[in-house]
Symmetry: D2
Subunit: 238 residues, 4 copies
């Protein structure tokens, strides 16, 4: 087992999740990266190991209790007790109210909100015992606005924001920093580049720049903690 | 089948739901009242029938798709196509994050949010066809604030508010008024009277006064619709 | 002196203010209408008198303390003590931060916010003594959003909203209903019709429909008061 | 004239303002510190000079246009063109609506909001020309909530928040980062220590911890800028 501090990022792909993994790994965290499939975690693992860091791929379905329990058990066994937990899973599903099926609506909530609840239940007992820890939750434009055809996303993201507030009010006094980051714009990921090839890079959120703010939130001292902040490109309309 | 206009209230008990049923029934609506058990609907039915109104008890589990489909099919058959739909179901579950089970957390979301989605899917197609209709969703203090030990409630109520916004932005332009009412205080119900016998009546929200605002929202003209308003007693701390 | 209940509307022109005057006058209020110039008040006075109502034109500059004091003294002398006070004054000034002069910025705040403070100071002492009263404040889209080139308006309207909240928290417990109405769209006034002749009527807020909601707020019972609601056309983008 | 980058902090005393001055001075900024009286600036100047930094005391009345113009002219002459502007002036005035005089109400707005407008007008032209710059505005609990007896403060702080939003939407696309920091709790200053001697240090916001977040906001890259964040102690009730 590593003697490094341990961070878990639930919801890792080639975009923001990977950048957060790299950021914390560079600061000598042993980082567990969780995704439904380990396939896309291998390149990140390789990259991290090249600069001497530790990034452990762990397969996990954020919407499935047993899968989440198993994944955190692996982390504990292989890396140690997490000091930082970042929930970055999410599903982006557009559709009018009459086009969505109840299953789609429910699954969207599970991946955008329930998974965070399942995750924090795994890490909080040890954090409470130690009187410290950091939990960062990734929000979106839809955390504050229920747009037409965005009900499935907004219901989940509003819910995640509610969870963040309840967590903060219950666990800040116990030394655990919970923060909610509202990412209000398109992130520069391979998927977005493919979807919107005309978008110039500086009009998209850089994953490294976002990860830097996650890192700064981790560093905040407990007399001046942030619960919520927004991030968007200078050139975003908002 | 009645020739009266039809309203459905999903989530009726001796408190606010019953008052809304009476309010719309007094205005000559044929009102379908839905609750898990029809038992507590009988006294309201009797009361409404005494003043010559129509109130049809329908058994429905708001969290169960087939039950919701069946319930609305009964309404359509017995009363006609609903012009008004009011979602007043909800569950009030307190508990710290580590005390709640995933099932409790999920069920709280289903009753506070998913049920509204299932309900609006039943009424919207006809409303869209007619180019008119009214959908009123009952919110709470927890719609805007995730308090400590209120995560289960807040996640559902934030979600319901997101749904209200998405519904409004999609369906207002089609002539359907969607509004979200934030009830920010204790309602004067038999349960609250039992729980807090020391509370004087005028410090609690009167169910009739709330129902009056629901009625006024129904009456609003489409050039000046309200999406959201709050209601609380003059003596509430807020 | 009239024995009718007295309402004061500060900020009356051919648009919303006039509609509010008519609405309350039809309910047998003696209504004092205040504007910088009495000229545009004459037609409203005539209209109200034709249906047997009372509408008293009073000249007042909302941004000038002595003018406001004088105006309310006239109301008291000629009509009696106001039970209802509606602040509907406002100035719509667009301009980038570097285009606005400090005088413009300050004057915009005075008309959009300070005037309401001066007005409520005139009516509150008697309201507190009687343990009742209603104060309605007209907000706008800019009450919630500081847009580019809207700083002058938003600073005033945000301030008015702050004032509404502080008033409500101080005076609701004393029996005085304070409410803030966010009018989120273009109102159908002669000025807007001239500015945007292509806009169809049903895409604009009807002044009568708005005034109806003001009236309903007046009627609310103290166990279920609204602090804030929004109004916009069904067809508004928001 | 210094070749260092120049920052201006308007509103400096022994509390947060001083900590911000020290923070930026340690990063090799030449910092102009503005306050009504230069007296309390001398100790900060001395402290900064002891570690080899530059902190220039400038007398300025934030509510007076000519005084603000003069002060910025001095900065330009003695230090150079500001790249960073921080508005930290404010007045904390409690009082019920009927206790405040119109002068007090107006002055509170001027110091909490107008002064920021006057300040940004001095620095923006050069920032726009260079296509870069940072403007940080200090908010408070009262930026989001108009409490009873807090009208004077809330009107100013709501206004400052509106100004921040309008500034961001106008000037972010021109490369100028505007951010608004909501300080939601008591700051550990000599004044607060005297007022509330029973408060333990870790229940108060540390000025150094706050200043660190201001510094991080300065460092943010333009693809992921924050408009607003909150800061409060872990032990704050909120």
């Amino acid at each position: 087992m590593s003697e490094a501090k341990v961070a878990v990022v639930l919801g890792v792909g080639p975009g923001l999740g990977g950048a957060i993994v790299r950021r914390f790994a560079r600061e000598n965290f042993a980082v567990a990266m969780m995704a439904r499939s380990e396939d896309m975690l291998k390149p990140i693992q390789k990259e991290v190991e090249q600069f001497g860091g530790v990034a452990l791929p762990v397969s996990a379905d954020a919407t499935n209790l047993n899968s989440v329990i198993d994944a955190f058990a692996q982390v504990k066994e292989k890396l140690g007790t997490p000091e930082v937990f970042i929930y970055n899973a999410g599903a982006f599903l557009m559709g009018g109210i009459l086009e969505l099926t109840p299953e789609q609506f429910e699954n969207s909530w599970k991946i955008n909100c329930l998974g965070a609840f399942l995750g924090v239940q795994q890490v909080l007992p040890a954090m409470v015992e130690h009187g410290s820890g950091t939990i960062l939750l990734t929000g979106a434009t839809a955390s504050l606005r229920g747009g037409a055809r965005f009900a499935a996303l907004a219901v989940g993201k509003f819910g995640l924001r509610a969870l963040a507030q309840s967590l903060a009010r219950e666990f800040w006094p116990q030394g655990i920093h919970v923060a909610h980051i509202i990412i209000d714009g398109l992130i520069n990921t391979p998927r977005v580049q493919a979807m919107a090839p005309e978008r110039e890079v500086h009009t998209l959120l850089s994953t490294e720049a976002i990860a830097q703010t996650y890192w700064q939130l981790y560093l905040q001292e407990p007399t001046a903690w942030t619960l919520e902040l927004d991030l968007r490109p200078a050139l975003e309309k908002f």
